[in-house]
């Protein structure tokens, strides 16, 4: 369904519930099933992550169907010098600040991989493209049903963040994320990228040299008087140092660093689905507020394309492909990164220009891997569900008309003072010149 709204039944919450039902996802939920709603709760100061109302409405629906929902996200790698979701404590603190709490959701919000990020289930991956194993967050692996409620948008390293990434990264424990990010890999890990200590002048040339040492949780970076030493063979790819190292010209990133991660994301997504059971997993893509970067960064740029709509299905490859195709099809947003990178025209690929750090990458890396590893198919058909009625989305605690609901209340505590000013209620002028304010004045009053 498209991203426009003009009535109760075409609101985005209503559309999410409509596609949930139309895609057959509600049939997956049996009485007493534990249902994990996996979403991205947003990094500290990110503002384009999914508003909690979507998860709340979905959780209410699942409860109505007899299921026991919980909303979850997982702990992350450090990712950046001031990361906010690295431990279970940080994750819940950030999630609450972003509105994800049991009070808002009507069900628990949990860190699916525990406090440190090692509460997980190790699974073998048969015929993975690059991964041979994955570490799935325990709460997700243990759930009877998994609904991936994904915010479709761009991503700095993944190019696109949609259904595949929501599980390929988001359902992996911290241990699993090290695996997917190629930590310790001799060819694709960060430690294997070109290292240029000769570009860095060390303590003598950099007043801020301490910050370079302080970003590494494993203390592998040592600044010397005139350069830097890095125990890169031990680098776990936590990414905390990437920006500080790149901006100083100390490391370079190669295409395979990006491509290998994206391939691993698709493998880990498949592992997650197989662990929960293919018949027990459903996907909803909310293609709205399409920032070029992920919800895992501490800021949100304006959308590079307009809201594309709300999609649901059981194949994450098909779903992400449909969203990418829609983004390609439409015109980019004027004044956004789409304009900066000259991809405003309909028919141009937006994410590989706007969201990625390195040029020359393809925004369908995850999708292509997903086809190769059997995760899903790029063949899709968009079926427009029948619109539901306004009554289906009325105020659910009491869906009677307000006249019926408030007649007794307003009689008991009258909010309108009929008894004053000859029954008019308030002191006001009889008539004023409204024409005089219904006119434009120009900048600074036209002076």
């Amino acid at each position: 369904m498209d991203g426009r709204s003009s009535s109760l039944q075409t609101g985005l919450v209503a559309k999410m519930l409509t596609v949930f039902e139309a895609a057959g996802l509600e049939k997956k939920i049996r009485p007493n099933d534990t249902v994990a709603i996996k979403l991205h709760c947003g990094e500290w100061n990110n503002s384009s992550y999914l508003r909690p109302v979507y998860a709340r409405a979905l959780a209410d629906k699942i409860k109505e169907l007899g299921g026991r929902p919980f909303v979850c996200d997982t702990t992350t790698l450090p990712y950046n010098p001031v990361a906010s979701r690295v431990s279970g404590l940080d994750l819940l603190t950030t999630a609450e600040r972003n509105g994800y709490s049991s009070a808002v959701l009507g069900c628990p919000f949990i860190s699916a991989d525990g406090y440190t990020g090692t509460d997980d289930v190790r699974v073998d991956i048969e015929d993975g493209f690059i991964l041979k194993e994955a570490y799935i967050a325990n709460a997700i692996a243990s759930a009877d049903v998994l609904i991936a409620l994904s915010h479709f948008k761009g991503h700095p390293q993944g190019l696109v963040g949609g259904a595949i990434k929501n599980l390929g990264i988001g359902a992996q424990s911290k241990r699993g994320k090290f695996n997917v990010h190629m930590g310790g890999h001799p060819k694709y890990g960060l430690g294997a990228m070109p290292f240029h200590p000769e570009n860095y002048g060390g303590k003598k040339a950099d007043d801020d040299w301490r910050s370079l040492e302080e970003v590494c949780p494993y203390s592998l970076i040592h600044v010397t008087d005139d350069s830097v030493k890095w125990e890169r063979e031990k680098c776990v790819n936590c990414l905390a140092c990437v920006r500080p190292m790149l901006s100083r010209g100390i490391i370079e990133l190669k295409e395979e660093w990006f491509a290998s991660l994206n391939a691993a994301i698709a493998d880990a997504c498949r592992a997650t689905i197989e662990t929960v059971g293919r018949d027990n997993v459903g996907f909803i893509n909310m293609a709205i507020d399409i920032s070029p970067y992920c919800d895992c960064v501490n800021y949100s740029d304006m959308s590079i394309v307009p809201n594309l709509g709300v999609f649901a299905g059981t194949d994450p490859v098909a779903l992400d492909k449909a969203c990418i195709d829609k983004a390609t099809e439409v015109a980019g947003t004027s004044g956004s990164a789409a304009e900066d990178f000259e991809v405003e025209a309909p028919g141009t690929r937006k994410f590989e220009a706007c969201s990625i750090l390195l040029s020359g990458m393809c925004e369908e890396l995850q999708i292509n891997t997903g086809v190769k590893n059997g995760l899903g198919s790029i063949d899709y058909e968009l079926i427009e569900p029948t619109e539901k009625t306004a009554a289906d989305f009325a105020f659910s605690p009491d869906s009677r008309y307000v006249g019926v609901r408030y007649r007794k209340h307003f009689k008991k505590i009258p909010p309108f003072p009929y008894e004053l000013h000859n029954g008019q209620g308030f002191a006001r002028k009889d008539s004023v010149d409204l024409e005089s304010i219904n006119a434009y004045q120009g900048k600074n009053g036209g002076k």
């Binding site: 950046n80 390293q157 240029h196 901006s247 010209g249 895992c296 501490n298 990625i356 390195l358």
Partner: protein
């Protein structure tokens, strides 16, 4: 094909050198200083990673535009327009240097 940021940088360097040559003996010392400093900074940055990234594209696009209008002014003999064009070039270079620090950028 080299990344767009590097392509832009090469074009800016060429443009600045062309402008210096076009102005020849008419060039003023402070104009020459700005043009040579732009070339020197960009040559130095080419060895680092930033110019290979997408964030380098919009900022180098802006410098390329400024350098081109400076060259046009030199070609047309409009020396009166040169100081303001040089100021625009210098300001755009500062934006590039700021962007290259990648302050607060997150790469997950």
């Amino acid at each position: 094909m080299p990344p767009k940021g590097i392509q832009n940088t090469d074009e800016i360097i060429t443009c600045c050198r062309d402008t210096e040559a076009i102005l020849g003996s008419d060039i003023e010392a402070d104009w020459k200083e700005v043009l040579e400093s732009v070339v020197e900074i960009l040559e130095g940055m080419k060895a680092k990673f930033f110019l290979k990234t997408n964030p380098a594209v919009p900022v180098t696009n802006a410098i390329k535009k400024s350098a081109a209008s400076l060259k046009e002014a030199a070609e047309a003999g409009e020396t009166a327009a040169i100081p303001s064009s040089l100021e625009k070039l210098r300001a755009d270079m500062e934006k590039l240097l700021k962007a290259a620090k990648m302050e607060g950028i997150i790469i997950t």
